[in-house]
């Protein structure tokens, strides 16, 4: 059966904030091969924003998109995607959020919106089906993300879905994130971009339905996929099943045992206090309730009720695994209450727990070495007052927080201290994994277009020993394959965990059934590679080069501690991996895509983007 119009509406709302005008923008045919989601966002940014644009200027744009499966009955498709130029990295950024916002955007009858220019006054936007209205944000200036969203729900109705920034976004903190009902567009500083446009929050309400092109075929695929997910959730030791029962942070034992749990600013590879801050520890110590995103049978979100150090009671969704590293082991913080409070401060101010935690880790090391001081704070690892105090100062840009608010690399360069100890790529903080132990993950971090990205890295294969984590051989090809595949999947804005149990062959079948567009697996994966190259061209045009694909100095020094003592990334081997990676990508030794490669991907016209 066919005849429906398909899930993509091919409409984005273009919002000129300066003139308070919204116009319907019909997606041109040449954009359709990008499928949706990050594909649409990447092409729009590449077409409309010159790579050297100041990320916090009115000329930057913020593109919020959904994908062909968002809002449909397909499981684990709740996310929405933001593409913009990052104030943290200076690169093109794509960042994702779960929850319910994505589906609501689709119910409102559009595939996303494009924010342009800058508002004259701080603004809240309300998008209801086809209509757009502008409202003063005066009442919520300086307020937390949760307070802002609560205000919008009171003002516009409890059924709106929202996103907002906190004080970090208002204060142009480079790692400011955008929150959507406790979930975050975490990476890359999209919160600062929204703040630069004087938008404090957006509320969306939709009453429409989402159609698919081939309902019968689509329903069969949904049933098939649900069976796979249900079986995974029921399995005793299945990864997704365990996410379902205890969240993403069920345990740090294996990572620590494998000597790959970054501890004390990546000096050590294991953390004795890990068992005190993992998912089981939270489930044991605090009342816990699982929460799900739209259409997700896994419900990996864990809500915890905990008592703060001052005796007051509070709720927190999380911490997630990555935060257990960045605000836990990396800071030598084994106290689950301090970790929960640290997580909560990041949520309140609207900051990425990863890059913020990594920057704080660098500051604590510099504090202990005497290179950095801050009145009233004793900068030491494991010190709750130092950890929580620094986080607040970053959000406020107060004192040393103003330095740290630039991100780890720029803070180190400004301080003239410990640049090689700032654990970052392109100024984006490392995720929880140690390149010295996991060589493929090291290459993936280094070559990531958005910097130190853990979503497109061979983490599972390396940490579980499916492949030799210490080996260099074969890692370049593996990293390229993962980057291209995940990029393709992110055109659907599919949850990353969905792919853990769903075969890749299912994705083009879903696209065809949802949109009516026939696409083979080969073409689907080529979409991912095309986007990867387009991002690369943008980054080259923005001034990045091979020098930005290198690991910080600490990665070439041995790890300390049991299980990984002496593990190191060999500089020569790393350079060889990088050369091989460039070669496999069809790039020259400087990392510039060849004309032949761009022609093969159908994007020769973008070669000029790389020229500065």
């Amino acid at each position: 059966m066919s005849g429906s119009r398909g899930s993509m509406r091919d409409i984005l709302i273009r919002i000129d904030l300066g003139s308070k005008r919204g116009t319907t923008w019909v997606v041109p045919d040449e954009m359709k091969p990008y499928l949706g989601g990050m594909g649409y966002g990447t092409k729009i940014l590449a077409d409309e924003v010159p790579p050297q644009t100041d990320p916090l200027s009115p000329e930057n744009k913020l593109i919020l998109t959904v994908g062909p499966l968002t809002g449909t009955m397909a499981p684990m498709q709740p996310q929405s995607c933001i593409v913009t130029k990052s104030p943290l990295t200076g690169t093109i950024l794509n960042s994702y959020v779960g929850g319910f916002l994505g589906a609501e955007i689709r119910f409102a009858g559009m595939d996303g919106l494009i924010l342009e220019g800058v508002a004259q006054d701080w603004t809240l936007l309300l998008i209801e089906d086809g209509s757009l209205s502008f409202h003063s944000a005066e009442a919520v200036m300086g307020r937390s993300t949760a307070e802002t969203e609560s205000f919008m729900k009171q003002r516009f109705g409890p059924d709106v879905r929202t996103l907002s920034i906190g004080r970090a976004g208002e204060n142009a903190v480079a790692m400011a994130s955008i929150f959507s009902e406790t979930r975050a567009f975490g990476r890359g500083g999209a919160g600062a971009v929204l703040g630069s446009k004087r938008v404090k929050g957006i509320a969306v309400r939709g009453s429409g339905a989402v159609e698919v092109a081939r309902p019968g075929e689509f329903s069969s695929l949904v049933r098939e996929n649900m069976e796979v997910l249900k079986a995974a959730c029921a399995e005793e030791y299945n990864l997704v099943g365990m996410f379902s029962r205890v969240g993403t942070g069920a345990g740090m034992g294996l990572v620590s045992g494998r000597g790959a749990l970054a501890t004390r600013n990546h000096i050590f590879g294991s953390f004795d206090g890990g068992a005190g801050i993992d998912g089981y520890a939270y489930a044991d110590k605090f009342y816990t309730r699982a929460v799900a995103c739209y259409g997700c049978p896994v419900h990996c979100g864990m809500l915890h009720k905990f008592t703060r150090r001052d005796g007051s009671s509070s709720w927190l969704r999380g911490p997630e695994y990555e935060t257990m590293f960045s605000l836990g082991s990396d800071l030598l913080n084994g106290d689950p209450v301090v970790l929960a409070e640290a997580n909560q401060i990041c949520e309140e101010y609207g900051m990425d727990t990863l890059t913020t935690g990594v920057t704080v880790a660098w500051a604590l090391e510099m504090g202990e070495s005497g290179a950095l001081k801050e009145p009233g704070l004793d900068l030491k690892f494991a010190d709750p007052d130092a950890i929580l105090g620094l986080l607040r100062k970053v959000g406020e840009r107060e004192g040393i927080g103003d330095l740290l608010a630039q991100g780890p690399k720029r803070a180190a360069e400004s301080a003239g201290a410990g640049v090689g100890r700032a654990m970052q790529i392109k100024n984006s903080g490392f995720a929880a994994w140690m390149p010295r132990r996991m060589k493929g993950t090291g290459l993936a971090f280094a070559t990531s277009n958005r910097g130190a990205c853990h979503k497109r890295a061979p983490i599972g294969a390396e940490i579980t020993g499916q492949i030799d984590m210490d080996a260099y051989e074969g890692k370049a090809a593996l990293v390229k394959e993962i980057q291209d595949r995940v990029n393709a999947i992110f055109t659907l804005v599919s949850c990353r965990f969905h792919e853990f149990v769903t075969p890749q062959e299912a994705y083009p079948r879903f696209v065809t059934a949802a949109t009516g567009r026939e696409i083979s697996l080969q073409e689907f994966l080529r979409v991912g590679e095309r986007i990867w190259n387009l991002e690369r061209l943008f980054n080259l045009g923005a001034g990045l080069s091979r020098a930005d694909d290198l690991l910080p100095e600490r990665c070439f020094e041995p790890i300390r501690g049991e299980a990984s003592e002496g593990a190191v990334m060999d500089r020569g081997e790393f350079e060889r991996m990088l050369d091989e990676y460039y070669q496999l990508r069809g790039w020259d030794e400087a990392g510039i895509p060849s004309r032949q490669k761009l022609r093969g991907l159908g994007i020769p016209e973008y070669a000029a983007l790389a020229k500065r």
Partner: protein, 99 residues
């Protein structure tokens, strides 16, 4: 021969133990495999609920590592074909920790 099993998070939680010594004998030519060792572990009263084996194979999602002399964990990729030695330490985990 005697082996030591160490339990990481989910197994530690299910058994209430950090480690357990297991005695075993037999196997092909009196050389037990890692699978034999897991079967011996599974027969211990403390471990009956672990469901480590499924149809004489290691259950999906169960990961087995050897602890090396320097304390590192090395994956046992073929539990049916790899031997165990007296005094060896095997570590049980799942892909959960770190995914």
């Amino acid at each position: 021969m005697k082996l030591q099993f160490e339990f990481l998070t989910v197994f530690r939680r299910k058994t209430g133990l950090e480690s357990l010594a297991v005695a075993l004998s037999g196997g092909v030519e009196n050389r037990p495999t890692v699978l034999d060792a897991l079967a011996a572990l599974q027969s211990r009263p403390e471990c009956r609920e672990l469901k480590l084996l499924h149809r004489r194979r290691v259950a999906a999602g169960v990961l087995v590592f050897r602890r090396t002399s320097v304390g590192a964990l090395e994956r046992v990729v073929d539990p049916e074909g790899q031997w165990v030695a007296d005094g060896e330490v095997l570590v049980l985990s799942t892909a959960m920790e770190g995914g």
